[in-house]
Amino acid sequence: MNATDPLALSAGEAVEAISAGLLSSRELFEAYRARAEADRAAADGGLNCFTWVAEQPPGEDQPPPLHGVPLAIKDLFCTEGVPSQSGSRMLEGYLPPYTATVVSALAGAGAPLLGKTNQDEFAMGSSTENSAFGAARNPWDRERVPGGSSGGSAAAVAAGLAPWALGTDTGGSIRQPAALCGIVGLKPTYGAVSRYGMIAFASSLDQAGPMTRNVGDAALMLRHMVGRDRCDATSLAFPEEIALPTGERLDGVRLGVPEELTGEGIEGGVLESFHAALARAQELGAEVQDVHLPHAPHALSAYYVLAPAECSSNLARFDGVRYGLRAAGADQLLDMYTRTRHDGFGAEVKRRIMLGTYALSSGYYEAYYARAQRVRTKIADDFRTAFEQVHFILAPTSPSVAFKLGEKTGDPLAMYLNDYCTVPMSLAGIPAISIPCGLSEGLPVGLQIAGPAFSENRMLDAAHAMEQALDFDAAAARV
């Protein structure tokens, strides 16, 4: 361990260095703060990862077990007195009166707030281009997107502007940017982490999760995130403590590869990298077999009914009355609502609100929303059946490597197809982790490992074994 360069340490190593007295938490915070602030100040000249950066290290002594290792947090988490606008003009200047449960829990464990990160507006997008703060950039190639919606968090971790970050995943918003930026991203089992204080997108799907340099850091962060919260009625007590993964072999582990997520529509270079990773898994002792998720090809359609439907309801709260933007000059109430929403929402958010409102409207509800909910049942059943045969399911995280800025902004459907490999797990509510598994055209490829509900410990162990074997080199992204 090289304590003279604190930026080279993983979060877990930094915790150890501080507790061993080799590094001060203040020094570590200041080192990251300076880098994050420089990126924020550079805006489009940098990676545009940060929307807000702490002005100074936290005053008080930082408690164990995390000893003050600073944490970057996606803009959509409410942080008391700190701007939280979910990447939207609608919440410009909003200072929440309370802090999200998961942010408080991590701060209480010794991970203080370093800064807030850029994202697609209200988490709707797969490129972090739909942001009131402007597009974030990919540290592997500044002309490419970092993925989204948690693109600022992913780029910050990849570039070494933060030791680790908090993201959220509704249909892939942790896993896909993690894949495109060459880092680790974990979406927990739905309900494992409290959603209280997350500015909502689609409540039956939204989950917070870690975005980190390695699998061990993801476990370390997740350990302090899970648990029942009386402020979120859908949160559940996690059945066991999250352990730090130690797995090095995969003997006796059965891995399922669904042909539905590994064929048509996946880039050649991504598939090549994926198949190379499967070969490594076999070398580690795993048994690889085909499985079927017959309804997975319909997951995207069901998702793009359900998520917009929930968003159209959740975003009804932005009406210019209680917080955020109000359009000037309206002298009639309805006019004030409609103009505020016109001015405050970006194009993609408007599209989703329209789509969701349409799908829920009289005459279309049965054809769209009710059917999509039934597809969701079938998808969950598909996974249940598959997990009777295998321990984990493996697939690419994203159908492509990072694409060029602007390449897909004009074609919403092309953008939605980025979520093809991640939405099935979201609809089934199961945990999935993306780890970097290689490069294609010099850009990172993500390997997705999904397991049954609450299998996080076993999943992290398998991911750790794969990570050791793949030995991905992320140095090229550090700035």
């Binding site: 319909h298 009355v321 408007k350 999509a372 919403p412």
Partner: protein, 94 residues
């Protein structure tokens, strides 16, 4: 294909004003997405139970005891306009 009138109807339901130049692209983009989504109409979903949540949650009730909530001045602090103890909005009448 979603028509202009339908776009305007849905926008009214969504309490969303659309500028003239937003209407045609919205119609086109919604149509493209809805065409894709229409694939789920090919599936046989008779006797399939719809799911709202996939992880079983039961008994999320707590004792009904009064407790302090957000103080009024804190709740009003972020509002675009307030009047005395409440949020100030324009009249519902034109």
């Amino acid at each position: 294909m979603i028509e202009r009138d339908e776009v305007l109807h849905v926008a009214r339901l969504a309490r969303l004003a659309l500028s003239e130049d937003e209407i045609e692209p919205m119609a086109r983009e919604l149509s493209a997405v809805l065409d894709h989504i229409a694939k789920i109409s090919e599936l046989d979903l008779a006797n399939v139970v719809p799911s709202t949540h996939v992880v079983e949650v039961s008994g999320g009730l707590r004792p009904d005891r009064p407790r302090a909530s957000l103080p009024r001045e804190v709740a009003l602090d972020q509002a675009p306009a307030v009047s005395g103890e409440g949020f100030l909005v324009p009249s519902p009448q034109a």
